[in-house]
Symmetry: D2
Subunit: 320 residues, 4 copies
C-alpha cells in the first residue's frame, strides 16, 4: 500500500509568490489588527458563543440525529507537505504473550508520530500570521517556541457549542464536486443561503461549506491535495463582517486554490485567523448532513487540549 502524500503544495506557493509583487500588500512587522476583545484576548470570535447563543442553538435539536464530521487520519491521508503521520500500537510488558495478574490482564497502547495538520483539523489562532505577526498582534519571536506556543495554543479554545450552518455549494452551483478554483464570495454565500432558506448567518455561528471535494480522497489524491474550491478573499471578509466564530469546509484548506487573481498565499487563512480571530475547520465531512438537508444544527467541539499546540485533529459533533 502506497502512501498518498501530496507534495504539490509548495508548487502552489511558488506560483503565488512569483505572481505577486513581494511586499505588494504585505504589512510591516508591528502593523497589525488589535483584537476587538482586548489586548489579552486569545479566544477570538468564540467570544460570541455565549450561554444565550448556546441555549438558542440547542433548540435546533429536533430529531436527535448526531453527525460526526471528522474524517480518518492515518499515514495514507493526503497531507500538505511535508506533513506525515504514523501510529504505533504496542503491548507493553507483554512480549511472548505474557499476561498480568490473576485475571490475565493484557492491553494495547498507542503512540503517535505525526503532524497535527492531517485529516480533520481545527486551525488555532496561532497557525497563520502576516509577516510573523499573529492574532492580536502576537509576534512569532515572542510566543512560537519549539516545544509549544506560549500564547494562542489550542488548549485555550473554550467549549464550542453553537449553531452550525451548512452551505451546500455543490447543490447551489450544480456540480458535485465543485470545480477547483471556484471562489465562494458574498454572492455565492448569499445565493446558497437563499436557495436553502437560511435567513441569516449570525455572530458566533459556524459556517460549513459542502463542495463534495472529500470524495476525491483515495481516488485522486493529487487533485484533492493541490487545488480546491473554497472561500475567496471577499467572502472571507464578508463572513468576518458577520461575526462568525469559525469557517469550515470539506476541503483541506477551506479557501479557494489556486487563489484568486492578486490574492496572497493562503490569504483567506490570514484574513480569518490573524486579522479576525475566526477559526478554520478543515476536512469537515458534511455529506450526510447535506443528504438530510440538516442546514442548521447544534454544533459541538472540544479540541484535545495539548498545551501549546497550533492545531488539533478534530471530530466535531453536529446534532439535528
Amino acid at each position: 500500500m502506497k502512501r498518498r502524500s501530496i507534495r504539490l503544495a509548495h508548487m502552489i506557493l511558488a506560483t503565488i509568490t512569483m505572481a505577486g509583487l513581494p511586499g505588494g500588500t504585505g504589512r510591516a512587522d508591528g502593523v497589525c489588527t488589535p483584537s476587538k476583545f482586548g489586548a489579552k484576548d486569545q479566544v477570538g470570535n468564540l467570544n460570541y458563543v455565549t450561554p444565550a447563543k448556546t441555549l438558542a442553538a440547542s433548540k435546533l435539536i429536533t430529531k436527535g440525529k448526531a453527525y460526526r464530521l471528522g474524517i480518518e487520519t492515518n499515514h495514507n491521508t493526503p497531507a500538505y507537505a511535508p506533513r506525515t503521520f504514523n501510529l504505533m500500537v504496542v503491548q507493553p510488558g507483554q512480549a511472548q504473550g505474557v499476561t498480568i495478574g490473576p485475571t490475565k490482564l493484557t492491553y494495547n497502547d498507542d503512540i503517535i508520530n505525526g503532524w497535527v495538520g492531517i485529516g480533520s483539523q481545527i486551525d488555532g489562532l496561532g497557525h497563520v500570521g502576516v509577516d510573523n505577526v499573529y492574532y492580536n498582534c502576537n509576534k512569532a519571536s515572542e510566543f512560537a517556541k519549539v516545544d509549544g506556543l506560549t500564547k494562542l495554543g489550542i488548549e485555550n479554545v473554550p467549549a464550542i457549542a453553537t449553531r452550525a450552518v451548512v452551505l451546500d455549494m455543490a447543490g447551489y452551483l450544480g456540480a458535485d464536486p465543485v470545480k477547483e478554483g471556484t471562489a465562494f464570495n458574498k454572492a455565492e454565500i448569499e445565493g446558497a443561503m437563499k436557495k436553502q432558506g437560511i435567513k441569516a448567518i449570525e455572530k458566533g455561528d459556524v459556517v460549513l461549506f459542502y463542495t463534495g471535494w472529500l470524495k476525491l480522497i483515495g481516488k485522486d489524491d493529487k487533485r484533492y491535495g493541490s487545488v480546491e474550491p473554497g472561500v475567496g478573499v471577499e467572502g472571507a471578509k464578508y463572513l468576518a463582517s458577520l461575526g462568525v466564530a469559525a469557517v469550515g469546509a470539506d476541503t483541506w484548506a477551506v479557501e479557494v486554490l489556486p487563489g484568486e487573481k492578486g490574492a496572497g498565499a493562503f490569504e483567506v487563512h490570514q484574513i480569518l485567523l490573524a486579522t479576525n480571530g475566526i477559526y478554520i475547520l478543515e476536512n469537515m465531512n458534511t455529506e450526510e448532513m447535506v443528504k438530510d438537508k440538516a442546514w442548521e444544527s447544534f454544533f459541538t467541539l472540544g479540541p484535545s487540549r495539548i498545551t501549546g499546540a497550533v492545531q488539533a485533529i478534530i471530530n466535531p459533533i453536529a446534532i439535528k
Copy 2:
C-alpha cells in the same frame, strides 16, 4: 523544569500480581463474552445512544452553559509508565524569518511524538483484554497490528451525544479529594445518587465520578499517578447491568487503586471494556460542574478519528 513522569504503576501491577493467585480468576484464551449486539459489533454500549436518547438528553440544556472536561496534555502531565509526550512547533520554509508571497504569509505547524494515553482520554474497546482476548471475542493476534488495530480502532466510535450524570463522590463521602483506595460500589453509587436527587442511571448514559483527585496534579504527582479512589469490581458490574455507555472520572484510571482484595490488575477495565463494551473516560475535569450542581447534562464527544488508534486524547463538552 523537571518532567513529572510517574513510574510507579509497575509497582502496583507487581503488588497485585503477587497478591493474587496466578490464574485464580483468569479465563483461558477463547472463553470470552460475545457482544449482545452481534458478532460483528465494534461499538458496544454506544449502541444504546439512539436518536431518541440524544433528543431526550438535549432537553437537559436549560442554561446554555458549556463545560469542557479535558485537562491539558503535555510533557509534564503525569503519565502511566513508560508513556511520554512531546510536541514540536515548526515554521516550515521560513528559516531566517522568511515570509511567503505578497501578503507575507508566515505559519506555525506542529508535530506530536507521544503516547495517546496521557491527559484526558477515552479508552477504546481494543485497549484492555483478558488473556489476549478483547471485546466481542477479538483476539490480539488477529487485530492488534503494530501500525494500528484492524478492529475496535477509535475511528469506529460513533458520534456521542447523550445524557451525562455526574456523581459527586467527594460531596457524598465528605472528603475532597476522596482518599485513595476508596471503592465506589453499588452502595456508594446509589448513595450519591440519592443525595443528589438523581432518580436513575439509564441505558446509554455517561456516568462521571467526581473525586477531587485532579487537584493533586502539579502538587503531588507521585500520589496522583500511583493510587486513586474509583470504581470497584462490584460497582463496575452494577453499572454494566444498567447499560451505561461510558464511565469516567477525574482520575487517571477511573478504577480504585490499589485494587480491592482479590481483584485482578485493572480488573475494572476488563469488566467495562472487554466484557461489557463500556468505554472509559479518564481525567475528566468535572470540578466546575460540581460547583454548579450540574448533575445531569447533555454530553457530546467526537474522538479524533485516527485509524486503528487504541485511545484518543479527548475534551468532551457537557452542556447544562
Copy 3:
C-alpha cells in the same frame, strides 16, 4: 515525491509460512543454544575480535583509502513494512529570524521519528529469535521491554576493528546484480574466495557479500525490497563454523529471498543471530571496494550507543 515504502515483505512471510509445516523445524521455548562464551555473554562472536586480531588487520592498510559503507537513510529509502522514517529540522528560539547574543548565534537542530531498521544497519543480537528465545537463551518476556531491551541492547556492542573480506558474488556468478533467489552456500563462498585469491575466512572476520543489488534503489524499489540474492541456510552454518563476527551484504536482508526450499522465515537471521551470536550488516555499499579489488581491508564500526536499541543505523569505515 512519492514514498517508496515496500510493503511486500508480509507477502513473503505468508508464502513461507504456508509452504512450511508449522512447527516443522521449530524448537520449543527453552530449547536454545547456550553461548560458547558463557551464560552472561551479550557480545557473541565479537569476542573473537581481540587486540591481536585488530593489530593484524590494521596491517591491511597499505594505501590509506577509506571507504564509507553506509547508504543514506530517509523517508524514501525502501523499508521493510511497516517501518517508516522522518527527520525534522528546527531552529529553536529563532522564530521570525531572531538571533541570539552579540555574535548573532543561529542554529539548526534535528529530530528523528523513525524506525531504526532503515538504510544501512547492524542487527544486534536481540533482533531475531526462535520462538521468543534469543541469543544465549534470553527470553523475550524477560528482556524485551517496550522502552528498550534490558539485555542484548546495541549499547553493549564493543568497538569493532577487524578484518573485512569482500566477496564479489556478482563477479563470481557473472551477473550484476545477481538474480534474486540465488543462494550463497559453501560452494559459492569458496568459489568466490578462490577466484579472488582469498586464502581463508577466519575467526572474528567480517564477511561482506557484493551482489550489485543496491543499484535497484530508486529504480525498482519493489524488486529491491521484496526479494534478493543472499546467504543460504547451509552458507550461514558454514560461516558460523568459521567463527566470523559479522556477515553483511549490499542487500536489505543479507539472506536469500525467497528462501530456499524448506527454509523457515528469515531462518538465516535465526542461525546467525540467535544460534551463533553473529551480527548482520545490511545495505553495506561495497561497490567502490569491488572496483578497487579491495578484497581484504581494515574494518571499523562503532554503532551509536542508544540504550536498549535492537539495531543501529550505521556507516562502517573500511580502509585499504
Copy 4:
C-alpha cells in the same frame, strides 16, 4: 526513575545575551567567510584527511587496542533543552506471542522519537551559524528545510580515518574534573601537549580534550549540563590555524561555559563550524585512553548517513 533533563541552557544564553552588546561583534547577513576549499565545498577541514594522512595515522596502531568513544543515549541522558529522547521496542505481527513460519521466527524492532543532539554526537557544518549564515556562506533560508538540510547535511561527511590527539587537561591542570569556566586557549593547549610529549597538532587531526566532566552524569546532571570547562575563543582560533579536522571533548558543548568575558553565545561553535569548517565532537569518552596514555591514535568515524540531518549520534573508534 526521573528524567534528568537539563533545562538551564536558556539561562546561559540569556546571561550571555545580556552581558554582550547586541550586534557588538556580530556580522551582517551576507558577510561571511568563503571556504578555502571552494564555493561548492560542503566538507570543510575533512578535506585535509587524505589517503596519505590516513595511511600515516594507521601506523599509530601498535597494540591493537580499540576504544569506543561513545556514551549511551537514552531518555535519562542530560540534554540541552528542549531536546528529548525516547526509544520504543516492538514485536510486529507477534501480539499474543505468535511466531512466524516453521522455524518459529520472532523478532524485536525499534523506533526512535528523539532529538539527534543527545549523548555522543558530531555537529555537522549546518548546525551553527552567524546571523543565519552557515559554513561557506550558506544561508538558512536556502538550505534549512523542515524535513532536512538540502546542503551541509550529515550524509555528506566523508569517511573519517585520521590521527587523534588526546589532550589530558585534567592531568595538566591537576583537577579531575576540571573546574567549569576553565578556558582552554593556546597556552593551555601547548602546555598539555608539552607535558604529554606531543610534538605537533597537524592538518586533518582530531583533537580530543579530556576534562573528567562525563563522570558528573547521573551524579550532578544540573552541573554537568549547565556549565563546563572547554575550548576558549582564542583556543578555537588557534586550533583552526593548525588546520584540525575536528575538535572534541568529554563535555556536552566542547567549549567553555559560562563563556569568556565578551564572548558571544556559543561563539566557539561559530568559529569552528561556520567560519572554519571544523567539526565538533561532543561527549567523547576518552577516560580509558587517558588511563592508557594513548595520546596519539588512529581515529575512525562514519556518522550514520541520515539525509539532511544536522548532527549524528556517534561512537567513534580510536585504535592504539
